[in-house]
Symmetry: D2
Subunit: 342 residues, 4 copies
């Protein structure tokens, strides 16, 4: 199958390339980058020398070849994928968007949190949380790949809500991410001397992944869910850990918690580690998400933790997993590699 | 005044030395270390060459000189300071213990969480949270220097409870620390290759700083307080950030929160930064603790954050601050230095 | 083919497993570890959960199955592979030793630098620098996998000596490595708080990789070569950079240097980057070695730099490359993956 | 005495402030920043809250007050201090320039390497290597504070040349620095995700500190000295280590080397550690420079290493040390603090 990537010069674009390099069914057709047209990708990313030496083309050239392309990945700032999605509606080409543009079934939430008009409503886009939305993903034309924090947060909380073990009004998610989540743009908050030996929170009470988590959980369970979400920045490149808290319902036991997570028993990329804390490093470079959980009997709270590599299961890896589902390949195709440790 | 340090070869001992080096009123008398007797400290810590070249003595020799010593600092694993405290009761020498042995007015809590018999009950020890316990500290004979996490946690929550703005049953503290909090012992969990580019939780639901936070808040407000506390390990050497959550009481406004923190207006080492997130790096090497707070109007929760250097305000700096209070020096004496940034 | 690993619980053993997981022709038979018998490897390395869940067996059990094993990798401290090599001489099983035991054709050099008697002389072992010793490797029974520093150092200097462009008496190699080179043992020099934000040299004038570099270059060119070699420790987990200096011979030009490196033109894993500095991160997780070179016209010196991942091309990756050569697979088999960046 | 700083919003400016905060004789008069006029410094650097809350003024306003200012520090990109130096010639105000503008007694070297016309020739500026140029510094009107690499390089090599122990034609300096040496500007080469877990060389054969080292050594010994100098970037914020190599002259012994370094015996900020490698972390935050040296008897070379904090002894600390010398304070005044370890 033929694959093109729009916005291939960012970290998630480059990670897609790393993964697809070992996918047995994929041929890269075109890579586009707004600012790097005609430049060979290994000039921008010397680590790709001898792996990829494609020249970036214009987005127009890439789109002109849509009919020969099975799937286009977009790895763009929010707002830039909507016109592409609209355009592709008339073709048989599928779209996997790694940005936020298609994540909200209720587009007014998008418009409120992203402060942009949504110009492609009722697109029929599917939220691509691979393990929880499998059937819908199979038939998706436009696939909205989830954010990194939402993937970890939702996967760790879903079984508890599904089994009706927690009071959803008490959910608090405290999270932490490495710096690649902020991309390659030059900002003081990504400057080595500033980030090194530093730990801080950001986006407190207003991070845009908050409504994404609420939206999916609410639609899955047909109840309104409002959460408090606080992300932090860790001085490392890759990795996300979410620590979620909620009050358990009366009489809930540790056994109930253990049982609830068994719904993931047959999901290859979810590793259940019980009463242990996951560590981001155990997932680095891989598509695994590790989930651990604890019952705090003193306070009747559950503490549920999830770790993943924000560029893999939190972005490009899950995007390939979704592509596999959409094109009837086994989910693990091209993703069956070990974490890189240490 | 003459000062000795028992357990001077650990990180908090060495940090005491760094600070006391510029204290105008202090002369170091003896340093002891169980395993390094007769070795010059700059052989163990080459960064101290030309700063301190004292030879470690035995604990016995140090204690034999107690009568000529104004204050002894103990920087020891828990359980080891109790016999020293008992011994010093008969002298006029004051004790500042950087460990946990004297932190609990109800020693049964200590015995339960530390799984050790408390052999020096009713010692009259004072909990040394400098800004909140000033009057008691002035007259302390035995001073229990608070833990690093409790210092940050309590200072950020105290004003909210004092002003009756939050429901104390809903307090959750999510915290993160650099590696020096775990000391210089050799453990796999402190091994560079393992900790680097890694973020994980530890001690979930059972960390020993939990009862310390509860105990002080409970005794200050004469009500039972039970919290959920989750520490994480950050791949950096110094720094603690605590992120605390609680439900606000009906009708509480951001202005109420802002007003509550004004009780710290005249406390030099507390820097109030309002609706900003503190960052550990802004406090590194200094005795400052930075506190920020947010009102999450969507969920009626307050998010209160505090950052400090775990070896300074979280340990040795606060110990010197307490020494200053106990000996009638201005609190800032020897501590009036700028953070080391970047 | 069937593969076993002795000493599989160290970092190079685990990296072998990561790589072999995607090798299409390899089946893992046994893993042994002196101290972890009967423990499942994912208990020691949780990142391997669902990837490898083999239990460690005793070295004896592994060796008893030698006849059914095509190749045994040893990843052991020096001195421990000699008895294994002797034992396997009577079998058809091949040995790839990642340690130093078989690297010296003149065993007296080994005995002098490693202060150990060499108990398996004239073993016929082949030095496994894949790109420079291909023909001998093809027929090796015992393969001595090169050290990490020697791989980078030799590959960067060999073309210059081969083309007779430098005065070999003036070679100085200044090198730097991440911490995984020191393994997983607990030592103060691998303690996170000590290594973090630190840069230092070690083994100055007496590092054991010195004679390994000299030995190979000397035997390749039949002249005596004595070098100065200084390694440094970088606060990162993976990666080696070597910076080598030598006086050029009279009249040597940059074009001569450029031409000399063309001998690597058809070597897939060597990436020639001309007058650019290689960066360790560009090779991380991959089997590539990047080589750059400069002519310092002011001093008539060449500066030749090489970067690689010490656990891959510097150890386990080159070991698999050598296995491929020994068993007539294409060299890239199982190694054809992209670096992990960033 | 009254002190003003031009370019106070960069890392060396801020480090000057950290140090001067505890200098008993200094009062800060004005701070200027080209782009931050009227902004309070703690808004740019929140770590300075309660330490400095001065508003930046224009450079003009600062210079208008020159007559009331004892010394002005300039921490500016090269080329920007020359006009200031010229202007101050007519006043009694002294100038300490942390940039490169006044470092070359032969300005044509400056013009060649910095590609700028030198507009203030024959200024009488003194090169401020405190330990080696003490007498000249005492009477300096314009003080050129040395670069970070030159300070370490020169201090480690000077005794060997002075005692005539090495062949100066064979000097090679391999060096490494943390990221603060590159300042606070936003560049991809200072981006956290790019620098983290990375080690690379830069400026190979053409770094601008090369002629600075050559110039001082040549003028001190009245012989032409040409060196090869290669800097590297270490993923850490602070610290420089230089590793210098040279052939020893016939018959030179380790004892000769040891004796040579005794010329520093009474220099407080130079710590001689003999046959040990210095480590940057041992000097962090302090004005110490640690020097170790080795004789490689196999190759008749000396390996001389020096470590320092690039922002302290490599910049602002040495600037204050020079100020002390110029104004007849003891050299240690305000600089007598311990390294921050770990």
């Amino acid at each position: 199958m033929k694959v093109s990537i729009i916005g291939a010069s960012g970290y998630t674009g480059v990670e897609l390339l790393r993964i697809l390099h070992n996918h047995p069914n994929v041929e890269i057709l075109f890579l586009s980058s707004q600012t790097k047209e005609d430049i060979s990708i290994d000039k921008i990313y010397p680590h790709l020398l001898k792996v990829y030496e494609n020249k970036f083309v214009s987005q127009q050239k890439l789109l002109d070849a849509a009919e020969q392309t099975d799937v286009i990945f977009t790895a763009l700032p929010h707002g830039h994928s909507l016109a592409i999605g609209k355009l592709l509606q008339a073709t048989k080409t599928k779209l996997i968007d790694l940005g936020a543009d298609y994540r909200f079934c209720d587009e007014s939430i998008y418009e409120k949190w992203y402060k942009l008009e949504h110009t492609h409503k009722n697109s029929g886009a599917v939220f691509g949380l691979s393990e929880l939305n499998y059937e819908a993903i199979k038939n998706a034309k436009i696939l909205a790949n989830p954010g990194c924090y939402p993937t970890a947060s939702i996967l760790s909380l879903y079984p508890l809500i599904k089994a009706d073990l927690i009071d959803v009004d008490t959910i608090i998610i405290d999270a932490a991410s490495g710096t690649t989540g902020a991309g390659r743009q030059l900002r003081l908050s990504s400057h080595f001397s500033e980030v090194f030996e530093n730990f801080t929170a950001y986006g407190v009470t207003n991070h845009r992944h908050t409504p994404e988590i609420e939206m999916f959980l609410a639609s899955a369970f047909s109840k309104n869910i409002t959460i408090t979400f606080t992300p932090h920045l860790v001085p490392m490149a890759r990795g996300i850990l979410t620590t979620a808290y909620a009050k358990i319902k009366n009489g809930v036991t540790l056994q109930n918690l253990n049982d609830a997570y068994k719904i993931y028993a047959d999901k290859y990329f979810i590793r259940l580690i019980g009463q242990n804390s996951p560590a981001t490093k155990n997932t680095r470079g891989s598509n695994f998400v590790d989930i651990g959980w604890f019952l705090d009997e003193r306070t009747n709270r559950v503490v549920a933790l999830a770790a993943l590599d924000n560029l893999v299961k939190g972005a490009s890896g899950q995007a390939v997993q979704n592509m596999n589902i959409m094109f009837n390949f086994p989910q693990e195709t091209g993703l069956n590699f070990s974490p890189v440790y240490p």
